[in-house]
Amino acid sequence: MTTQTAEATQSAYNFAYLDEQTKRMIRRAILKGLAVPGYQVPFASREMPMPYGWGTGGVQVSAATLTPEDCFKVIDQGADDTTNAVSIRKFFERTAQVETTTHTAEATVIQTRHRIPEEPLREDQVLVYQVPIPEPLRFLEPSEVETRKMHALEEYGLMHVKLYEDIARHGAISTAYAYPVKVEGRYVMDPSPIPKFDNPKLEMAAIQLFGAGREQRIYALPPYTQVVSLDFEDHPFDPSKAEHPCDLCGAEDSYLDEVITDDAGSRMFVCSDTDYCLARRDAGHEGAQGARG
């Protein structure tokens, strides 16, 4: 971008795209969300220059959170280089002139779709989730009036019945992502469709904000908030992953994607967190198929 067009962009948009009154409304919702961890605060979600399902909730929360000094990172299923991540990163480069990065440790605000970075986050970082369906009870009870009452009365029996039926039918809880959690012993919350492998990481040092644009809800987890994955005494929660090391960097502690490499059934497992994998390979770690050119 030339200096001239950069300046034109800068003057054409308000800082971080949204108008100030919208940001105040979102900011008030974020503060109430932090005050009542796990409770979904309704907010007047705006139309964004991208379709619903592409992270409009996360983008609005990021827009209300970013300051000019922030360094911004976006990941989609762990990857910095997917279409959605690249375009959201560019969006804020243009409308907020913030610095961007792909390195987890350098970022102060990280917007994510469906993953928590492998590298532990710090107190000075903010993790913003894109959420499709914020209501954990929605697939069990379609009525918003009813689910609101269920949260008010702490009536979560239906969710336990669902998990029990999983065990009765499959011998184990078959929910592998968007695995429901209980926050501070009060609200049952949908952690967004992160793999259940990431659930233990929900108790972290960073502020976590969740934005659902289409469903018009914001919720939050302050640092160190107690987050317990629902389970049964005889079927304890199991944050499972593929029984395999990463084929590129050899990591045995990271969440893996299975990649089909030909039509003869060959496959490889690679870290879903691309920055984590790259950093390990740069540090000299190498997996079974990890030869670097």
Binding site: F15, R24, G33, V36, K149, R186, P222, Y224
Partner: protein, 188 residues
């Protein structure tokens, strides 16, 4: 006739200064009892710079505001109306309230939300003579083990926390610093 100082003391560059001020306010709410610097706004006395900045950052025509006690002066009313447009109301209708702890009594008058919508609760901005990282012991979300903070009447905040998820939330402001105590924080 509006005094001319009602027109000054707003953000020089609203989008960026409000963003920085909000980050301070969010960190305060996310780390209960931790004192943060916050700057940008300057209102007429007795409004502290921290409280003035909070009002500029969070209030607008959609947020009924209660000015308590010594803060209910014509100068403050004019300043708030010019810069935020927030309607001035009584304690029971307020989304935000600003004043000294004594002036905000009885705090039972403020909205604590409903069981269906606990977010519909007031936020109190308590102007304080001092903020110290000493006094009451705090535990709960946002606190790794324990924190300590100077609360005016610890038993009132303990009672407010006992009815979680209902309850109001509080900011404490002094000069250009603030701290917060959400209803989720247990006080002992």
């Amino acid at each position: 006739m509006m005094a001319s100082d009602a027109l000054t003391g707003g953000f020089a560059d609203a989008p960026t200064e409000a963003a920085r001020a909000f980050r301070a306010a969010m960190n305060a709410m996310a780390f209960p009892g931790r004192i943060q610097p916050i700057t940008g706004g300057q209102g007429p006395a007795p409004l502290s710079p921290a409280a003035a900045t909070l009002l500029l950052t969070l209030c607008d025509p959609e947020t009924p505001l209660y000015l308590a006690g010594a803060h209910d002066t014509q100068a403050v009313r004019d300043w708030v109306t010019f810069h935020t447009g927030a309607p001035l109301v009584g304690a029971s209708e307020a989304m935000f309230a600003v004043g000294g702890w004594e002036a905000l009594q009885p705090v039972s008058a403020f909205a604590i939300g409903t069981s269906d919508y606990p977010d519909r609760a007031a936020t109190l901005i308590v102007e304080s003579a001092a903020l110290e990282q000493a006094g009451s012991t705090l535990t709960g979300p946002g606190i790794k083990e324990t924190a300590t903070f100077s609360l005016p009447e610890p038993e009132v905040f303990a009672a407010n926390a006992a009815r979680f998820p209902l309850g109001w939330d509080a900011y404490f402001t002094c000069g250009d610093r603030l701290a917060a105590l959400p209803r989720s924080t247990k006080v002992s």
